[in-house]
Symmetry: C2
Subunit: 528 residues, 2 copies
């Protein structure tokens, strides 16, 4: 067979559309499918037996499936597929696709649709799938024929791989899946990042000069090797390094270059960014407020700050930092690394936000993955944990809660040899609580810490921030989760996950040690 033939689609009358789709996904590097299928997806499900190699992971609600695909991409660097049942199945996964989109994660959604002849009948499950998919997708296509679905799937994977990563939604009518004539498509070329803005290089290099200058990093600029280069630039020029409040993935820990985050609370963020008159952006966007607040600015950088965009998230950030390093003459300057001695002392007694941060810092295992949805509880985690052993830290970039446990699933499946810790508030965890079952089913090595403050704590502060003075009891009641109290130990056990409740530092320390030592999932309810 010539190479030309190999790279074209291969017709095989013996394959139906679903089989050609599964084989094409495998050929294009998609090896995992997070799913909750229905009738219209049964041929895809059946194909999983005929075509070996696709790991299929069942979720009890689609928000778990799409969140897991987000976490998988962040850690595997290539997309997983989701398999979703018609418009409503997609709809259930929509908010975690929103988060994935904002994180720059690549996801290939396969969304079942009625057979083309059935749509006009307006059956109960008929809906505007294209309309539901568009707001969270960069690429949407309906594959009309068994003959074309292989090619369409390969192009969906290619779309999902456009840096930093995109949401591709392929709508699969059931007759496309069940008809014969499927044509398998070989791997298409992997999209490359765009070029950084070379015309801004000189200005960027000049801007980085002393403590009034800031190098703001995002996306792939937060990899270990790129941070090393950024560290050289900081050491040479005296500029500060920061990242946005939320990062899809950051490499951290002792021996690496530390990068702080722009704080979430509006007033503190404004204060933190006030010193910087010159800001260079590499993979990050200029910081803005999460929300608008009456009478407060939404742009967080100081007025008149000189902001130079050297590279956006889709650009070649390694090349950008390397060029910036050269232009600032920093290539031989050693970066500052975090020392191991930076680990905090061992706290005892009651659990508070400080002792909690210290205990987590001391517990993080070497090479761990930390999925952080700690919202209010975790605001002090970043500085305290920087001296832990080398680890990877994932934030929620889209702000829709319920991202943490699903993303931990995807990270654990992408990296079966690494320990995963999911740090989550109780309110957030309830959004996609079904994730616990999938953790148990797949025996994933995840330790979940639930910070049980029994409220939407963040909103207590936000009430004041938006100008609500003296909120009344009805308002407060809408932010409270303590009537009734959630029992996370019962919750976890109901879905097959071992669990314990801790009320002081020693209990938490022991529970984390036990959870991280075991090889399956484990939940710790941390009473705050």
């Amino acid at each position: 067979m010539s190479d030309d033939q190999k790279n074209s689609t291969q017709n095989n009358a013996a394959l139906n559309g679903a089989e050609s789709l599964v084989q094409t996904l495998l050929n294009n590097g998609v090896e995992v499918c997070f799913t909750n299928p229905g009738t219209s997806e049964m041929h895809f499900v059946a194909a999983l037996d005929h075509i070996p190699g696709m790991r299929s992971v069942l979720a009890l609600q689609e928000g778990v499936a799409t969140g897991a695909a987000d976490g998988y991409y962040r850690m595997a660097g290539k997309p997983a597929s989701t398999l979703l049942h018609l418009g409503p199945g997609l709809a259930n996964g929509l908010s975690n696709l929103h988060n994935a989109k904002k994180a720059g994660s690549g996801v290939v959604n396969i969304i079942g649709e009625h057979a083309s002849t059935h749509i006009e009948l307006d059956a109960p499950l008929t809906s505007d799938i294209n309309g539901i998919a568009q707001p969270v997708s960069h690429w949407v296509r309906t594959s009309p024929l068994a003959q074309t679905v292989g090619k369409d799937a390969a192009e969906a994977v290619q779309a999902a791989m456009i840096p930093p990563g995109q949401i591709a939604s392929l709508i699969l009518p059931s007759d496309t899946a069940w008809n014969a004539g499927g044509a398998v498509q070989d791997a298409l070329e992997t999209p490359k990042p765009t070029a950084f803005d070379e015309s801004a290089l000189e200005q960027a290099a000049k801007a980085l000069d002393g403590p009034e200058s800031l190098l703001l990093l995002g996306g792939a600029a937060l990899s270990e090797s790129n941070l090393e280069v950024a560290g050289r630039i900081a050491a040479e020029t005296g500029c500060k390094l920061l990242s946005e409040w939320a990062n899809a993935r950051m490499e951290r820990g002792a021996g690496r270059v530390a990068v702080g985050r722009v704080p979430y609370p509006i007033d503190i963020a404004l204060e933190a960014l006030k010193p910087y008159k010159r800001i260079v952006l590499v993979g990050a966007r200029a910081p803005i407020g999460f929300f608008a607040y009456p009478g407060k600015p939404a742009v967080l950088t100081r007025e008149g700050a000189d902001i130079v965009t050297l590279a956006d998230a889709g650009a070649d950030l390694t090349a950008a930092l390397s060029a910036l390093c050269h232009a600032t003459g920093a290539e031989q300057t050693p970066p500052a690394h975090v020392a191991k001695a930076a680990l905090p002392e061992r706290p005892t007694g009651p659990i508070n936000l400080d002792s909690l941060a210290a205990l987590i810092a001391r517990a993080i295992p070497d090479n761990a993955i930390i999925v952080d949805e700690s919202v209010t509880t975790g605001r002090a985690f970043s500085p305290v944990t920087k001296g832990a052993p080398k680890h990877t830290w994932l934030n929620n970039c889209g702000g829709s809660i319920g991202y943490g446990m699903p993303v931990a699933i995807g990270a654990a499946i992408a990296c079966p040899d690494r320990k995963v810790m999911a740090l989550t508030g109780d309110g957030s965890a309830m959004y996609t609580v079904q994730a616990l079952w999938t953790m148990a089913r797949e025996n994933l090595d995840i330790t979940v810490l639930i910070f049980a403050n029994q409220s939407y704590q963040i909103l207590r502060g936000e009430l004041t921030n938006v100008g609500v003075q003296n909120p009344g009891p009805r308002a407060i009641d809408m932010l409270s989760l303590d009537r009734p109290t959630l029992d996370w130990v019962h919750m976890a056990r109901s879905m097959g996950v071992e669990a314990s409740r801790v009320t002081d530092c020693t209990q938490l320390e022991n529970a984390m040690a036990d959870g991280l030592e075991s090889n399956g999932p484990n939940l710790i309810e941390v009473m705050l």
Copy 2:
């Protein structure tokens, strides 16, 4: 004040937009808000204290909130509001809005949005809210000003009330909510149903003649009084009465006119409809298959059947049936009522689908509301329960699972003096399992029966129906919920709901008696 003045908006500089919105909703009969609010909705939340009268019900995931609004409309006959946090909060509630739309339920969604100046900054939670709302909404509007939001809200309520009921989505930018100048709008006129098709009356009356003719009823035609009229027509003409597979609300029980349902399984449905050469539609649509299956028809009525549409779901069905009754000369004909003796014998021993149906029939309390999401387990419930005391039966009209427990919440809040039973499969219940917490919080009088067959049982049959022969272990694994087993007693208790597990008929009988006697929520895990 003149009537003219009363019916116009009333400016009150002391009110902000959110306060004028809450007062307008109350003026227009909207007294309940199902919510999970965020920062952008804090002024609405604060207004709940200033403006008394709105019952605000917190849900831990928006699918619970939108499903509850669906159930509320079906039982209260007027819309509730939802309060949802930006695009992702709406997205989480989307699939139950799909179900509500298909049920013809009216819902007024209030969806928070960033302040208008903040949208262009593309903050983490920024999304295309209008685009997300459109596929499930009949009416979408963004209210630009505090001055207009009262008028917009009144029009949203009016849109939601267009018979049989519509989804109205009002997008509320946070500056619209917090700015002063809110103008309260008085009640607008309630929309009336459209006229039925009088030109089809003679043909319809003629079509109903003997056992080869069918009167197919839907929507408001299934009220107690309308069924009485349909019963006269059937007794006079010899036609059969049926309803669609899924009905938003049907009045049933001893002393009423019984109406069966078109079966779900495609082959059985085709067989059931084969006798009918002439079909008259009153509030129903001509039956079609839930899904397309290869080689099987999608239209369930016999080929060449003469189908007369007298009235669609938005028409005045009381007038249509009354006219049809007159035209068939049935006004003095007594209808056939279900006898009390129709109740089944008391079963003992193991629980199977037959004994389960009999026990439920015997347990249904007088005036109960039954929310049915029993999917496979409940296919035999309809004929067996028809002799139970008078009750109301609600089905899922949109086919997206996870509708049952949320709808039960809305029904219980609409009808605090009635017992509610939620009958649900385990797979369906997991979709919106967070509903249990809201039941406990509001102390709702709901008895939940979980049918724990530990699988997506419906899909086992569907695999065969779509032509998959000999499914392999990977396919079967995607339909199985038994690894790990869900423990519903732990699940319910984790959210403050009393629960028990039953394995035989006597245990189930006792558990239902206890659950229905108590005044709060209760869950029974029925092992199948």
